[in-house]
């Protein structure tokens, strides 16, 4: 378990090293920050592969909990850690070509690595206040990255995101203060133990309510979604891929699952499932009317997050397994779709679907990968999205909620509809005269898109029992059984 602090240490040091080296070389050598960022994210991803199916605790500064700070790795955080670092690697690979259009490249990579450090910290933290600090590190970096282009739209989206995210962070801090006032410790496992032994009074209920509201804002579940469709399209494409692919999942869903299931031992009845159902339908309906490519993808994120919430809210073993599987799949194909849109924007300079058409002829790699991603997300059989949605629907029927299953199927049809619309407008049809001379996207962008397209197929193999037991089942065990988490920390 000695590698655990490196997940936070390396990107954090890398962020400042990028700025330091760039100032030393007077911003002349752009390659430094690009190489550094890519090497760091690749190294982190390789490190996460060795973290599968392991669990343990790391004590910082030799201060044993509950007094000190600790990092905890278990099945759930190991799974999330590998997705986050995988998407981060493909996003940095994509940025090499894409970010050439912006000035101040070094700050971009510094903020990117800070965001990564924050997310890794959220996943590993075993202490409430550190959870808050890491959430804030990741959020502040993402606020700045959303407004990175400093155009009018981007600034407005960034401000909106900042205000809503800021309110959510204040709620989290207030909830942590309330927990501290009742139990006098901040360590998650000890608080969990104390909650299990005490009665579930009104103050605890209020604390739980604050946590759920705050993490719902971060995860953009429907009543709190207003910032997402502005913020995700406004950011540069690799950042949109990170935000939709992993940031809302780590800061929102992961933290919510951890707090609800492992700390409070509260599965919410069917509350989460209902929130998911509303998200599926409203997100899908709003996506159907969009003509802006990235905005359509952003609304689709809300809808797909709804599926994950639905699966988790069912509370059965199969439901949670399906939800986690869908979480993995969604980060892969949604990042790919955002990268496709970035690749189109890089060559055409527009995100409006009306102005596109027939791009398959000139950009075969972008068109092909986006077709794979669209088929995956709308649930076509050989791809990963089909299996996870099927599992969610089976889990709904198995737990006796047949209406939920029909609702999910209807949502899936909507998904198919708006992705077919996107494909028809952008990649099929006749090519416009002015776009005849468009070239395929640059080398590194194509490479990262192809990697993700292959993963769209490869993640289907997670259903094979041996792989499933190695990757998904430990995470399900952690969610269903709060004692395994406690046993890691309290010896």
């Amino acid at each position: 378990m000695n590698t655990l602090p490196y997940f936070v240490l390396i990107p954090l040091a890398g962020a400042f090293l990028v700025v330091f080296l760039n100032v030393l070389t007077r911003n002349k050598v752009r390659v430094i920050s690009e190489i550094l960022a890519n090497v760091i994210t690749l190294a982190l991803f390789i490190m996460t592969i060795f973290m599968f199916n392991k669990s343990g605790m790391y004590v910082i500064g030799k201060w044993v909990p509950p007094l000190g700070i600790n990092l905890v790795l278990d099945g759930l955080s190991g799974l999330m850690l590998s997705i986050v670092n995988l998407i981060a690697f493909t996003a940095t690979l994509f940025s090499i070509n894409y970010m050439r259009r912006y000035t101040a490249n070094n700050y971009y990579y510094a903020l990117f690595l800070l965001m990564l450090a924050g997310m890794n910290g959220v996943l590993l933290s075993g202490d409430f206040f550190n959870l808050f600090v890491f959430i804030e590190i990741a959020s502040i970096a993402s606020y700045a990255l959303v407004g990175f282009g400093t155009e009018a739209d981007e600034l407005e989206a960034s401000f909106k995101y900042m205000v809503m995210g800021g309110i959510a962070s204040t709620f989290i801090l207030l909830a942590i203060a309330l927990l501290y006032s009742q139990f006098g410790v901040l360590n998650m496992a000890y608080i969990s133990e104390a909650i299990a032994n005490s009665e579930f009074n009104i103050l605890l209920k209020f604390t739980l309510f604050l946590f759920i509201a705050a993490f719902s804002v971060k995860a953009a579940i429907i009543p709190f979604h207003a910032w997402l469709p502005d913020a995700h399209p406004a950011a540069p494409a690799p950042i949109s891929a990170m935000l939709s692919g992993v940031v809302i999942k780590t800061l929102g869903l992961y933290a919510m699952i951890r707090v609800m299931y492992n700390i409070f031992g509260f599965n919410g009845g069917n509350m989460l499932a209902y929130m998911g159902l509303i998200s599926i339908m409203v997100g899908g309906l709003l996506a159907l009317g969009q003509m802006d490519m990235k905005r359509l993808l952003a609304y689709s994120s809300i809808s797909q997050i709804g599926y994950i919430i639905l699966g988790i809210g069912l509370g059965t073993k199969l439901g949670i397994l399906a939800a986690l599987f869908h979480l993995v799949n969604h980060s892969v194909f949604k990042s790919l779709l955002f990268m496709n849109s970035g690749s189109v924007y890089h060559r055409l300079g527009t995100r409006n679907l009306d102005e596109m058409g027939g791009l398959n002829k000139v950009m075969p790699i972008t068109g092909g990968t986006s077709l794979i991603a669209s088929l995956s997300i709308s649930g076509m059989p050989p791809f990963n999205g089909f299996f996870s949605k099927l599992l969610i629907i089976i889990a709904c029927i198995q737990s006796g909620h047949t209406i939920f299953a029909f609702w999910a199927i209807a949502g899936s049809i909507f998904t198919l509809a708006y992705y077919m619309k996107m494909q028809r407008y952008a990649f099929f049809g006749s090519l416009k005269e002015s776009y005849k001379s468009i070239k395929e996207s640059p080398f590194f962008m194509s490479v990262s898109m192809i990697i993700l397209a292959i993963l769209c197929l490869a993640t289907s193999f997670l259903l094979i029992p041996q792989l499933r037991d190695a990757v998904l089942t430990p995470a399900v065990e952690v969610i269903l059984n709060a004692d395994t988490y406690k046993a890691l920390v309290i010896k």
Partner: protein, 160 residues
């Protein structure tokens, strides 16, 4: 120095010349004795940044540009952060854990004396550098950013 026309009046400038060093020295004291008395890296760094902000307020932007150009400030800021991380990282090798206080384990020291903190004074200095440069940069950027409205640009373009 006093012939410079930018900045505030002569009286303010000469008073600043007098108290400037003392404020900075007080900041240094807060940082270095952070492990013994109230204070530490953040508080001391803020005081040090305040002393630079005082220079900027009284002598104007041009002189501050000469004294602390932005590249140098950024360099100091990231150096502070890197130093802090390095101290934490050395703990893994020499102290057996991330952030472990390896100097204190090795040399010990009697409580309430200056050399009893181990790595803590070093971390304090690192944080102070970071906070000082960071806060000064925040003030500098926010106060010297010239607002040019989009409308004004389009107006001048029309006039041409």
């Amino acid at each position: 120095m006093t012939n410079n026309k930018s900045g505030l009046s002569e009286i303010v400038k000469s008073v600043c010349c007098w108290i400037e060093g003392f404020i900075f020295l007080f900041g240094c004291y807060i940082v270095l004795f952070g492990h013994l008395t109230p204070g530490g890296g953040f508080a001391g760094g803020v005081i040090m940044a305040a002393s630079f902000i005082l220079i900027m307020l009284s002598f104007g932007k041009e002189r501050t540009d000469k004294l602390f150009p932005r590249t140098r400030t950024t360099l100091v800021e990231s150096f502070g952060a890197l130093l802090f991380i390095a101290v934490a990282w050395l703990g893994i090798y020499y102290g057996g854990g991330f952030f472990a206080n390896f100097l204190h384990q090795k040399f010990g020291g009697t409580p309430f004396t200056f050399l009893s903190g181990g790595t803590i004074p070093i971390s304090n200095v690192a944080i102070a550098l970071k906070v000082m440069a960071g806060l000064f940069l925040v003030f500098y950027v926010l106060s010297t950013h010239k607002v040019i409205l989009d409308e004004d640009i389009s107006k001048t373009e029309k006039d041409k």
